[in-house]
């Protein structure tokens, strides 16, 4: 019996499937030839084992580490959030002011990072990349303001939502008691926002200093 022909058929079949006629012929041969049957079983076991080779996951922080190595301002693609102490914020604001005055283009050209603010001081958000999530079951009692990000609402916002250059998704579990307004920020507004931020920070710093 010429088994070589059938070995080839077995390989082709495992690789890409055989048309009906040669497949029937192969099956007929496999019924009577133990060696070829074994060959087929071994090859399929091998392929199965190869396909089972588990994917290994990249270590945690892989993307962040990479973004830091990129030229330009790609590091900013990973969000940082503005829940810092007022003192740090005011230092940041002063630095921003210096930069702003020194090179007005800086704040306009920079791609801004996402920021979330809420009048609810106990508000908790889950943040993944540029997406800010109001988690399911959470209640934000106050307004939310998002700049340059995406707000995903799974919980309850007992207030208004202001989106500045941001998008939002209202999931089926989510509710917004107030209104949602979307503002596309222009250069001018971005600049205004920067100044507002500085003014606010300065105010809270003064207040803090008096306490």
């Amino acid at each position: 019996m010429d088994c070589r022909k059938y070995r080839v058929l077995i390989e082709v079949h495992l690789e890409s499937g055989l048309p009906k006629v040669p497949l029937l012929e192969l099956e007929h041969h496999l019924n009577v030839c133990l060696c070829c049957r074994r060959y087929r079983d071994e090859l399929s076991r091998l392929e199965e084992a190869l396909q089972d080779c588990p994917q290994v996951r990249a270590p945690h922080g892989f993307t962040e580490a990479l973004l830091k190595k990129l030229p330009k301002n790609y590091a900013k693609a990973m969000p940082r959030y503005s829940y810092l102490s007022p003192r740090i914020r005011v230092v940041g604001a002063v630095a921003a002011l210096v930069l702003l005055l020194g090179s007005p283009l800086y704040i306009l050209v920079e791609s801004p990072r996402p920021i979330v603010e809420s009048s609810d001081l106990n508000a908790q958000f889950t943040i993944i990349d540029s997406t800010i999530i109001v988690p399911e079951g959470a209640i934000i009692s106050g307004d939310i303001r998002v700049y340059h990000g995406h707000l995903k609402i799974l919980g309850t916002v007992d207030g208004n939502v202001h989106l500045v250059s941001s998008g939002y998704t209202l999931e089926s579990s989510g509710t917004v008691a107030g209104s949602v307004d979307v503002v596309k920020s222009s250069w001018l507004e971005r600049l205004k926002f920067g100044i507002d931020q500085i003014r606010q920070d300065a105010k809270s710093y003064v207040r803090g200093a008096w306490k």
Binding site: R7, E42, C53, K69
Partner: protein
């Protein structure tokens, strides 16, 4: 996946800061996994994977959006891996000739089997993984792309810049080498393979 990749690249090319990060997030596990299996070493896989994405970033402008992304990125990964292994090999066996025709002649130093390899070593799958690890880089790459990364033949050919028939020949030879290894380990019984390669 491909559709998403192309959309992300388009945005990344226009300077969208988040799109590139998202592209990395989408592909990092695949690329890291591939490089880990190629090098058998986590640190090397990490460094090489970072390098792959840096190159992707630096060459975004050169990517043709009508092409598929997978072959492009795997090609960068494959070239870096082979290069890296060659360097490491020269470091280890300076006086050995560098012929890479023999499928089994070339071994990644086996002092560093991956954690998985250690755990699974006893069973069949572990032995297959170990046998795979012992293939020369060009055979290993073709097997990984086919079975672990599950690329279609056409994408493998494009990744390795080889004709389709050569890809199939290499797959066949790599599989035969694995089979022989498994025969030696007592998993399979010695028997003749087909002669398809002799014919093509």
């Amino acid at each position: 996946m491909e559709f998403t990749a192309r959309a992300l690249i388009k945005r990344a090319k226009q300077g969208d800061t988040h799109a590139f990060a998202e592209l990395v997030e989408t592909y990092k596990d695949k690329i890291y996994s591939f490089l880990y299996r190629m090098t058998g070493n986590r640190e090397d896989a990490y460094d090489l994977a970072q390098e792959v994405f840096l190159r992707v970033y630096n060459n975004l402008h050169a990517f043709d959006e009508t092409m598929r992304f997978s072959p492009w990125i795997y090609r960068i990964a494959q070239n870096l891996a082979v290069d890296h292994l060659r360097k490491r090999r020269n470091l280890l066996y300076l006086d050995e000739p560098t012929g890479d025709d023999g499928v089994m002649s070339w071994q990644v130093e086996s002092s560093e089997p991956g954690p998985e390899a250690v755990v699974e070593f006893e069973d069949f799958r572990g032995s297959v993984a170990e046998a795979l690890n012992q293939l020369s880089p060009m055979y290993k790459a073709v097997m990984l792309l086919r079975f672990v990364q599950e690329l279609p033949y056409e994408d493998i050919a494009r990744t390795l810049d080889l004709p389709l028939t050569t890809v199939k020949t290499r797959l066949y030879r790599a599989r035969e080498a694995l089979r022989k290894n498994l025969i030696k380990q007592g998993y399979f019984e010695a028997s003749q393979g087909g002669t398809k390669i002799g014919l093509s």
